[in-house]
């Protein structure tokens, strides 16, 4: 779920992240296979835990804390957080985009308790009792946050479909590292794909946002 597979520190954190273990118990969602292949030992641990818990089935009620609001929905346990936000909440939360639905592109990135995750790899039932922040929660067209403003100013978007993911990723990263180098910005964005070719200006926007926030 954490986007940097190479980031040892981040991986250590997720080992104790119940969301990750419980996600791996989820059946039938596309993309779980790749994650499991990488973390077979976690799967074994998850299986152990599964024996002690009741499986969920049918439609279940979830209450999600989305951008500071309590939102309710009836979903199947297999429904991802992304699809719940987009297809089951009313009104819908469509900032996070469905692009690959298997944890490879980053367009669906949301913050779970402040940490960026691919919401297509999180089940809604595992996202309860967490603070979910989507790109809508970071700022509005009238009141953008520093990263959003810098994206507009530096033209760090074209079609804009990857943009919510990049904005969310970078907003979270700048909280962790308020004064990054270009190399660190590239590293932070490596879990997000853009097809129009905005990368150079995404980097510029991230650095400009960091600089602006420090001033």
């Amino acid at each position: 779920m954490t986007k940097s597979r190479d980031d040892r520190e981040a991986q250590k954190q997720t080992d104790h992240d119940p969301g990750r273990r419980r996600f791996l118990k989820g059946v039938g969602i596309v993309g779980a296979g790749a994650a499991i292949a990488d973390h077979l030992w976690i799967e074994a641990e998850a299986e152990q835990e599964a024996k002690t818990q009741q499986p969920l089935s049918g439609n279940v009620k979830v209450v999600l804390d989305v951008n500071g609001q309590q939102r309710e929905a009836q979903v199947e346990p297999r429904t991802t957080l992304l699809n719940t936000l987009r297809n089951h909440l009313d009104p819908a939360v469509t900032g996070p985009k469905l692009v690959c639905d298997m944890g490879t592109c980053g367009a669906c990135t949301v913050l779970l308790d402040g940490k960026p995750v691919y919401s297509c790899l999180v089940l809604a039932v595992d996202a309860t009792n967490k603070k979910i922040t989507t790109v809508e929660g970071l700022g509005t067209p009238e009141n953008p946050n520093a990263v959003q403003a810098a994206f507009v100013e530096n033209d760090a978007l074209m079609c804009g479909f990857c943009t919510p993911g990049f904005v969310t990723t970078i907003s979270a990263y700048l909280k962790k590292n308020p004064n990054p180098s270009l190399a660190e910005v590239r590293e932070a964005c490596k879990g997000n794909f853009c097809r129009c070719g905005t990368y150079p200006r995404v980097f510029e926007a991230a650095l400009a946002a960091a600089k602006g926030s420090q001033a």
């Binding site: 790749a34 199947e76 297999r78 429904t79 699809n83 987009r86 297809n87 819908a92 939360v93 469509t94 900032g95 985009k97 469905l98 692009v99 690959c100 639905d101 298997m102 490879t104 592109c105 367009a107 989507t134 790109v135 809508e136 970071l138 700022g139 509005t140 067209p141 009238e142 953008p144 990263v147 959003q148 403003a149 994206f151 507009v152 100013e153 033209d155 978007l157 074209m158 079609c159 804009g160 479909f161 990857c162 943009t163 919510p164 904005v167 910005v185 590239r186 590293e187 964005c189 490596k190 794909f193 097809r195 129009c196 070719g197 905005t198 990368y199 150079p200 200006r201 995404v202 980097f203």
Partner: protein, 747 residues
Amino acid sequence: MQQQPQAQPSPSPKPKKKIRVPRVVNGVEQMVEIEVDADAGPGWGPNDKHKLLNHRMTRVDGPLKVSGAARYTYDQRLPGMLYARILRSPHAHARVTKIDLEAASKIPGVKGIIPAPLMEVRFAGAPVAAVAATTPEIADDAVRAIKVSYEVLPHVVHAHMAIRPDAPKVIAEENNLQEKGKNGDPEKAEAAFANADAIVEGEYITQRIHHACLETHGMVVDYRGGDSATIYASTQGTFTIPADAAKELELPESAVTASVEHMGGGFGSKFGIGLEGFLACRLSKQTKSPVKLMFTRYDEFVMAGNRSGSWQKLKAGVKNDGTIVAMKATQYRLGGLGPGSQAGQPYIYRMGDTYREVYALHTNEDSSVAMRAPGHPQASFAVESLVDELAYKIKMDPVAFRKKNLRDEVYHRQLERGAQEIGWSRRNPVAGGNPGPLKRGMGCAIGIWGGGGNDQCKVAVTISRDGSVLVAVGTQDLGTGTRTYTRAIVAEELGLTIKDVKERIGNSKLGAANPSGGSTTAASLSPSVKDAAIKARMLVAERVAPLLGNPKPEEVVFADGKVSAKGQSLTWQQAAAALPAAGITSHGEWRADLQARGVHGVCFAEVEVDVETGHVKPIKMVHIQDGGLPLNRLTMESQINGGMIQSLGMTLWEGRVMDAQLGMMLNPGFGDYKLPGSLEMPEMVPIIDDDDKREAVIGIAEGCIIPAGGALANAVFNATGVRVRELPITPDKILMGLMNTTVLSRG
């Protein structure tokens, strides 16, 4: 939308002339002859005298897009909407003998199923059935529950196998190899080789790559059984949607509205409703409910189209003074079931006596479709590699060699500028000559495109009495900045700021517009917008004349938010208050004199190759692009960057991998299909060629994707001495090449 007919400046008969313009059909340009006014009206004025245009304007839709507020097709969710999924053939060639829907139809939540007719499928991924259900998850279940029986037939998916006489036939009654044309005199070209001091012969192959639009193909069909429908489509052509959808829904065309507020990338692949559109319409008709059918990422890879591959056998002869005297080419277009596309060789170069023959070579793969500069990157990579090989062969500098064989002075200027920007003088002229395992090298290449417009756009500018200004036209913004320059043209004409004008686009009930293909949008749309803006200005001028001492309308100056004449001045609000109660609306038509055709681009690349691993690291890329009047420098630079990056992906990483035995794509996802990512980005320098003084709008999107492939491949050769003639340039090919050179033993 509410366009009031207004008194227009007197329509006296004007002298006409005939010109040829491009029209885009399914993403591909076709030239047609039209009649335009010979004497048109005021022009843009010098490129360096604009107040808004040719400046750096941030996108007007930027704030919506960065905050998640922009509503894309994929974001539409209507009450009672169903989600559709498609079942696809796992076989590359088979006959569907039975489709059993029973189990699928019993799943709670499944509302509609459409089986395909029992037919022959000719590629793995061909649709066999479509379902609509209350959630996407249930639709997935239903697709899995459909049982299909196939009679499997022999298939062929690789070009080198499809060309064999005993290969399975892709289409039973046709040869896999289809001749598409011959050009030149083969005997004359052959004879001219005798005059050459050196000859280079090579086979160049480009792979099939994918558009990989982040918003997949698809639409929401909002039809509930009534007498009208709205189609929310992710499309490059708002007006390519209603006719086909209406036919499928059995409604009059005027009863169907297409809406395209924002769309997440097309790159040539999104025209018309497509097969997915027919399925969505049928499901909507069957269920009397709105249906959303968006491709999954897998669907997108196996059925949304791709850039055709190419296989080019080239031979050229050169004299020691650098003159190319002869060229022969055999070009195969690898478009799967489709004809593919490929510009004819020797592309832009003068090569003396030339001859080419062109074929389409079919395989059991989905048809390629138009992709940004259809056919050009393929031809460019091959000929630029060939030209580079010729230059090295006679030990001539590749930049000087290109200039020698290019007549157009624009390329000479751009090559000089590019050489300076990349630091060409630092380049080691000996290929692979730098010491150490990390070897740097540089290369260059050139590109060409049309980019002219046509007369399809009808624009309305409405000025209300409260001073608000609205420019409306049904066109679409693909992320190219259409909304922004549409506003800016009107604002500049009326002496206002960009915030004072609002635009309304992306709806087929607005004024007509051309589909966005072949870089024709800016050159089609902006003249119509300018024309509407000029007419609106004249209407306001006529109205306010009595308040300003009765000047002639053309003497009234609109600048800095003021309307002035004869030493008197009104604020914009005061001027607008003088309009009739309903305001004024002007209607703009296309003007040929406000646009032009023909762009030039040059790309330089520097790479670093690790000769121990074969890994290529792009270091720096420079692209110089002309385009007449740059409407918006900020977004134009972004497009140039985008062209370089997409070309970088094609050259070094991307490619569809087909399994010969299974006949299916092995990498239909972003985990295995390698898109360019943040870690691979080189330093990028997009340069607008301001030496182009044409006071005319020309499209540049295609132009800037063409040359980077050749530039990168040539840089790899300069770095390593290895000539990789097949894309993508992956480490294995470089290591294989190094085994066959003396570079390592020297190093």
